[in-house]
Symmetry: C2
């Protein structure tokens, strides 16, 4: 692709002066429209050292309202915290709230550029990386993001000239013209290949690349402005259109529409149980074992995600307590998942879970999880039908990325039947120190048991993958459930270690 680019393009000074102010005002106005329509925008700048990223970014942001954007500099290597998590973690954390703009000075493409040239990723990781990047961008655009990606292109000769100029200029060498830049210059051909592959593999209809001929600064500036304007205008028109049509006909939410034929839940044998004695005999040793595994995982820097979903009253809380009872609090963290707050609601629903994934060597325990999207959000109509339908794929991709990084993902569905739930609800109401555990919402959810059952069955069906299978826990007997959870985790970790 890059060979065909005509780098001689220029914009004359008079021409530039004639149009730039209008473009600046237009970008400012579109930013305000996007804010009002709650459209999140990512603008990515990649390209050669010396191509003028800093200056061009500054030109682009000057006409913007600073209350609405943030520039992220990610040309530095990963921090320790970042190294201990999948490479996209760093960028998920920086995705914009609805209505805001994130500008990336270098970005998630680092993985397939510098890391590739330096050979710090293996070939199979590289292929994974292209996939993961595409999934990431697709998930964001599906969620309403506009992603605008610029590749600033200059020739090897031009780069050499610019670096020389910049090294001489004291102020310019602020951009830290170090050995690294000169080394990159010598590796121009290697980077050229890496850029070509990047463009080939990640130029998608939902997040296309714009190659900017960056020999002439004025030309580059105009092209950047026009591209941003066009992308925003297109999206804004789309959103307005959708709003108009939406007013005409409301989408019908039918949680039954996509039901799968057979029910996994119906086949679960809930008669399994342990007596108090059997339980007492087993639990201590398993907890000790769990503690040992926590220690071994830490040493080996292996991360673990344990995830609980299940009926209200299925005993998730008590189960977690027994799981962590002998563990060291420095190695695990429990994430209880409630309704999202303001900030979380203004992001992709996976954003908050990305934020909380454990770092290498640590254990993240989720009391409810990202599956809320296909359970409560589906059943209660908090998201649209096409959103929860899309979520199965998104969740599988998310978990695959965790597993690719080395995370062991253990998922539990805590299963009880309706009679047992009733018994427990009543018990909670009767015993004074348990009363806080039972709320009106629990009773309301119970009325929707059947709708939830359909959703759970479809979830189990569509998100049981080889890399992150579901374990159904027969939880009518709390003792049985606690032992099974511990055994399952221990087995999964022993396989890993």
């Amino acid at each position: 692709m890059l060979e065909k680019i005509d780098l001689s393009k220029e914009t004359a000074k008079e021409e530039y002066k004639k149009i730039i102010t209008e473009l600046e005002l237009r970008v400012g106005a579109l930013q305000r429209d996007a804010k009002e329509l709650k459209i999140p925008v990512c603008i990515v700048f990649e390209g050669w050292d010396g191509a003028g990223k800093g200056t061009l970014i500054n030109k682009l942001i000057l006409p913007l309202d600073p209350r609405g954007f943030k520039v992220y500099l990610t040309h530095t290597a990963q921090s320790e915290e970042e190294i201990m998590r999948p490479f996209l973690w760093r960028y998920w954390n920086k995705t914009p709230e609805r209505g805001r703009i994130s500008v990336f000075d270098r970005s998630w493409y680092r993985r397939v550029l510098e890391d590739r040239v330096n050979k710090s990723v293996k070939q199979n990781q590289l292929e994974q990386a292209y996939n993961e990047i595409n999934h990431f961008e697709r998930q964001l655009t599906d969620d309403g993001n506009v992603i605008i990606k610029f590749f600033l292109h200059i020739s090897r000769k031009k780069q050499g000239k610019r670096l020389k100029e910049m090294s001489k200029d004291k102020v310019m060498s602020w951009r830290i013209i170090t050995e690294k830049e000169w080394k990159h210059h010598k590796q121009y051909d290697k980077y050229f290949d890496a850029y070509e592959k990047m463009l080939e593999n990640t130029d998608t209809d939902y997040a296309p690349w714009t190659i900017v001929e960056a020999h002439d600064r004025r030309f580059a500036e105009i092209k950047i402005f026009k591209t941003v304007i066009e992308a925003l205008e297109k999206k804004i028109a789309e959103v307005k259109n959708a709003q108009k049509n939406n007013n005409k006909k409301k989408e019908v939410v039918s949680s039954k529409a996509a039901a799968v034929g057979t029910s996994t839940l119906d086949k679960v044998d809930l008669s399994k149980k342990y007596s108090h004695d059997e339980y007492q005999k087993k639990i201590g040793a398993l907890q000790e074992k769990m503690r040992e595994i926590e220690f071994k995982m830490y040493k080996k820097r292996a991360p673990l995600v344990v995830m609980y979903e299940g009926w209200d009253g299925a005993g998730k809380g008590g189960n977690i307590k027994r799981l962590v009872q002998l563990m060291d609090p420095r190695g695990y963290e429990v994430h209880p998942v409630a309704a999202p707050n303001d900030i979380e609601r203004a992001h992709h629903y996976l954003w908050r879970f990305w934020r909380d994934i454990p770092k290498a060597g640590h254990i993240g325990i989720f009391d409810r999880s990202w599956y809320g999207r296909v359970l409560v959000e589906r059943v209660e109509g908090f998201c649209k039908e096409h959103e929860w339908k899309r979520a199965f794929k998104e969740i599988n991709e998310f978990e695959e990325q965790l597993v690719n990084f080395g995370v062991v993902v253990v998922k539990f569905w805590m299963h009880i039947n309706k009679e047992e739930q009733m018994r427990r609800f009543k018990e909670r109401q009767e015993i004074s120190y348990k009363q806080w555990k039972i709320t009106d919402e629990d009773w309301r959810n119970r009325e929707k048991w059947d709708a939830y059952k359909v959703a759970v069955d479809e979830m189990l069906f569509r998100t049981s993958t080889t890399y992150a299978p579901w374990t159904i826990v027969e939880a009518n007997s709390k003792y049985y459930a606690r032992i099974k959870v511990l055994k399952t985790i221990i087995k999964a970790m022993e396989e890993k270690l």
Copy 2:
């Protein structure tokens, strides 16, 4: 203090069994009360290696609802991001939202313990550190936090024995019994001194230390539970009482009460101005200079905070644009300060500003700031009178901490008179691409000009310090204001460099 501690205290097993369940239930219930009353709680664990912090923390958190607390492990050294900011930055970021509990496994005391023993802080920094810690804790408790601080004490002999045991035990050595722990053991006396000094200097009525005799685990556990229960009960009673009294008589908010005698604003000479030609002659060179300074600061790792307050329409936005016009966006960030969001409102009002202070070598530009507490919050009654009165001191302490760390703090009051404001408001209404800049709120604020004037005068009076003085910018002439701001920053930075 420590010498007088009787380390032979024990709790018998039967006694322990008799009371522990009740204590656990009580802590759980108090956590729910605190949540409801929106009381934020910090629980700090300091003490000797081998004193059993991990185990004791786990015991304490097991009966808690995991939705309401988070354990922070801060025994690791500062990260790169943390080193580049005042040492309390790391902990401000971890202060709990109202109604939540933060448990610290080691804490901000690291500065006066490990850093002191390792001599990585100088004597004067050490004195500052005690002060800063006390200010930090006072600011939090003034804001409604409960701070419970435990020092887990064991003898040198006991420590040696425990470390030996732990080294043998594979699972225990999870706690990473490395050379570091043994080195600390050899330095028992040095640490003893450091602990003594810490206890002396930071045992305050608002955040007292509890020394826990930690030879006997059961005794320690019971003491920790009882201390937490007592502290929470006391605070809960206080808050309930205050609510009761509040219902009886509402505090009268009188923004005029504390007015200072003379007005600084009245004396400002607003006739100062530059013609377009004069401005054009000066501005370019100053912007170039600013760019150079940005580069030099980066090299020297000197951080800068530039803060704008001023009347609506005083030209803050345009001024900032001219300031950064030639700067490299990788070196500065503009923080426009609007009304706090959900999460911000649930913290101390300084929390969000702590989060955004620039790291060493970078520039943070604040378009409005922490002074909102003594301006809009005061005038509009968004906070109580005793809160904004207290804020003058808090803000001075905050800025002093920045300056102690090496931050240059430049504060501008952008001043125009009422006539000029009216002229600009009208202009904004008339010119189409400026209309978005004028809102109903601007008009409402204008009606309160006199109340704001009183607040501004008092602010200028009470927060003009030697380390962070105010600069009043005569802004009836935008040209004059832009030149003055650039000159002031350049001068401040040249003095620093």
